[in-house]
């Protein structure tokens, strides 16, 4: 009887669908993150693809062209910008606006808000990555990824690590302003270590070591290796999983609904 009642009283699953729909509408109506993440990644891809010197393979870059080096970096860039624009800010704003508090008076479980955000942002990331890959192959003459399974795993771990960091920021930041500050403080070093501004291969060894232990610094070679057909070494995969677990724990430990 008790279990029967409990099942009957829970919010209908259709409610989660409605919540996802509204989160998707909000993302669509506030396109700054889409433009910054998907738009700029795509634009840079096309520009780099058209620069002749970027097409020359180089021994210093491990036998790859600068353009090939940049494809995984731009993929990670898109993932990071989307995760950081749409995850911590809105969640902290929901707490400030009292949305989380109001939800806690309804049958909808509070974690639905987090889940709905992640569903929408994952969709946006997958669409962006699919566009980047398709444009690279179809228009820029890059060969198709040779190990799609490993590529999917590397991308999934990268997304998980960045969501966990985003959620931890949402958990620790008291105000939207603080969330934006923490986000910027985390994002720019991560992008630096991903090689966005300068190829990691050409950096000093000490910086390369740090890069290997940063979330995007681990994601970029894992994605690159998978693309050319190798299964990536365990180290970058473990680094990403460790970020996902550690920051995921922080987020669940410190997340406040009010």
């Amino acid at each position: 009887m008790t279990t029967l009642t409990a099942t009957r009283q829970r919010a209908p699953v259709a409610g989660f669908g409605k919540m996802v729909l509204n989160e998707a509408r909000l993302t669509w109506r506030q396109p700054a993150g889409m433009i910054a993440g998907s738009g700029i990644a795509l634009l840079l891809l096309v520009i780099f693809g058209e620069i002749p010197v970027f097409q020359q393979t180089s021994a210093r870059l491990g036998g790859y062209s600068a353009f090939e080096i940049y494809i995984p970096i731009l993929m990670c860039f898109a993932i990071a910008i989307i995760a950081f624009t749409y995850l911590p800010g809105p969640l902290v704003a929901y707490r400030e606006l009292g949305v989380l508090r109001r939800l806690s008076t309804t049958p909808a479980p509070a974690y639905w808000v987090l889940a709905a955000q992640m569903v929408v942002q994952t969709c946006l990331m997958v669409i962006t990555l699919a566009l980047l890959v398709t444009v690279s192959i179809v228009f820029l003459g890059v060969s198709a990824p040779r190990n799609p399974g490993a590529l999917t795993l590397a991308i999934a771990l990268c997304i998980a690590a960045l969501f966990a960091i985003g959620l931890a920021i949402a958990a620790l930041a008291r105000t939207s302003g603080a969330a934006r500050g923490l986000m910027a403080a985390a994002l720019y070093p991560m992008l630096f270590f991903s090689g966005l501004y300068y190829p990691v291969q050409l950096m000093p060894a000490a910086i390369q070591d740090i890069s290997n232990y940063s979330p995007l610094g681990a994601a970029v070679p894992a994605i690159g290796d998978s693309w050319v057909g190798q299964f990536p070494p365990a180290q970058p995969l473990i680094v990403m999983a460790a970020y996902a677990l550690a920051f995921g724990y922080l987020a669940t430990r410190f997340f406040r609904w009010e």
Binding site: R8, A11, N22, R29, V99, R102, S104, P107
Partner: protein
């Protein structure tokens, strides 16, 4: 604590029984106890809640019968909001027991959330969601939701359903919040300062809606610091001050109980002997003010005076009875006005 049958009780019972035919949930609820009419919707006993060293609510007990509109009235910071937040399971009490339709809100939150609708004092939404989209989302959380058209119509939001939340005025945001509290067809609706910030017309519309909601069997817990609202809507009112219930009665009962002498003022058709009235037990004093005679006293003063005058062949014209109000009751019970702390910390 005084037990009484609230007005509108019969209607409320009828609504439950009727709706039970089409709604298995209501049928189960109504059928589970034979005397549905006298069921307690809300039982709060010996509730205590402190924030740090400060006791916000100190040994508060009351119960609300199904279909009743129960007012919790008091100045800001008196503990009204804390009381209802504990009652619906948003806060856990330090001690005391709470039952909503017999359910402990701390033990079975899922069920409590299906049967209660809560409108909290503050709360906004993302600027770029439309009113209709917000309502549809919240509606989808409930097993037996209310009709959107009817609710938005009643709260004057029907033509705002396509508007972004950011374009709503404060009053409209407030009304949206009431819509969301009622969208799940709750058995118990908790409305915290529902009409604060509404203009007089919107306030009256909201009152009408609350009466309508009650007629359909919903029990209403109304937190307010508007005397007029409590007098107009509530079957019973608990006056809360500094975390304690200082009085609990019908609005009229409170007014009568707590006020001092009442006054009857009239113009007699012919002069009469003052002893005609001073010998009445209800009369304490009599004085004259031009043509007017002013009688002060207690109890059913007006009736006693007019009957006595009539028996002596004197007609009373231009009779004015100065009855006391809930506001008087509050001042008398607490020694201060309800609105003194208007801008204080809401609690």
């Amino acid at each position: 604590m005084r037990k009484m049958v609230p007005r509108g009780q019969e209607k409320a019972v009828l609504a439950i029984v009727t709706s039970g035919r089409s709604d298995p949930e209501a049928r189960m609820a109504a059928g589970s106890r034979v005397e549905a009419g006298s069921r307690l919707a809300v039982e709060v006993s010996h509730l205590c809640k402190a924030y740090g060293p400060v006791a916000a609510v100190d040994d508060v007990s009351f119960s609300v019968t199904e279909g009743e509109i129960f007012g919790i009235l008091g100045p800001n910071g008196a503990g009204k909001t804390t009381t209802v937040e504990c009652a619906v399971g948003l806060r856990s009490p330090d001690s005391g027991t709470i039952r909503l339709m017999g359910i402990d809100p701390q033990a079975d939150k899922a069920q409590i959330h299906q049967i209660t609708g809560v409108q909290l004092q503050s709360g906004a939404f993302p600027a770029k969601l439309r009113v209709g989209e917000i309502i549809e989302e919240y509606r989808s959380f409930y097993r037996h939701p209310a009709d959107v058209g009817e609710l938005t119509e009643a709260l004057g939001l029907a033509d705002k359903r396509k508007s972004y939340f950011r374009s709503l005025s404060g009053g409209q945001q407030q009304r949206l919040s009431v819509v969301l509290a009622l969208i799940g067809s709750p058995k118990i609706a908790v409305l915290d300062e529902m009409t604060t910030g509404l203009d007089p017309q919107a306030r009256r519309d909201a009152w009408e809606l609350i009466e309508h909601v009650r007629e359909r069997g919903t029990t209403v817990l109304l937190v307010t610091h508007f005397m007029e609202e409590a007098e107009r809507l509530c079957d019973r009112v608990a006056l809360i001050d500094s975390g304690h219930i200082i009085a609990l009665d019908t609005p009229a009962g409170l007014a009568a109980r707590a006020t001092g002498p009442r006054t009857v003022r009239f113009v007699p058709s012919t002069p009469f002997d003052a002893s005609l009235l001073t010998r009445l037990p209800e009369v304490t004093a009599i004085k004259h003010d031009g043509h007017h005679t002013i009688v002060t006293g207690t109890g059913e003063l007006a009736t006693a005076v007019i009957v006595a005058l009539h028996a002596a062949g004197v007609a009373a014209r231009d009779v004015r009875i100065e009855a006391s109000t809930l506001e008087d009751a509050f001042v008398r019970l607490t020694g201060r006005h309800l609105h003194e702390t208007e801008e204080g910390e809401p609690s």
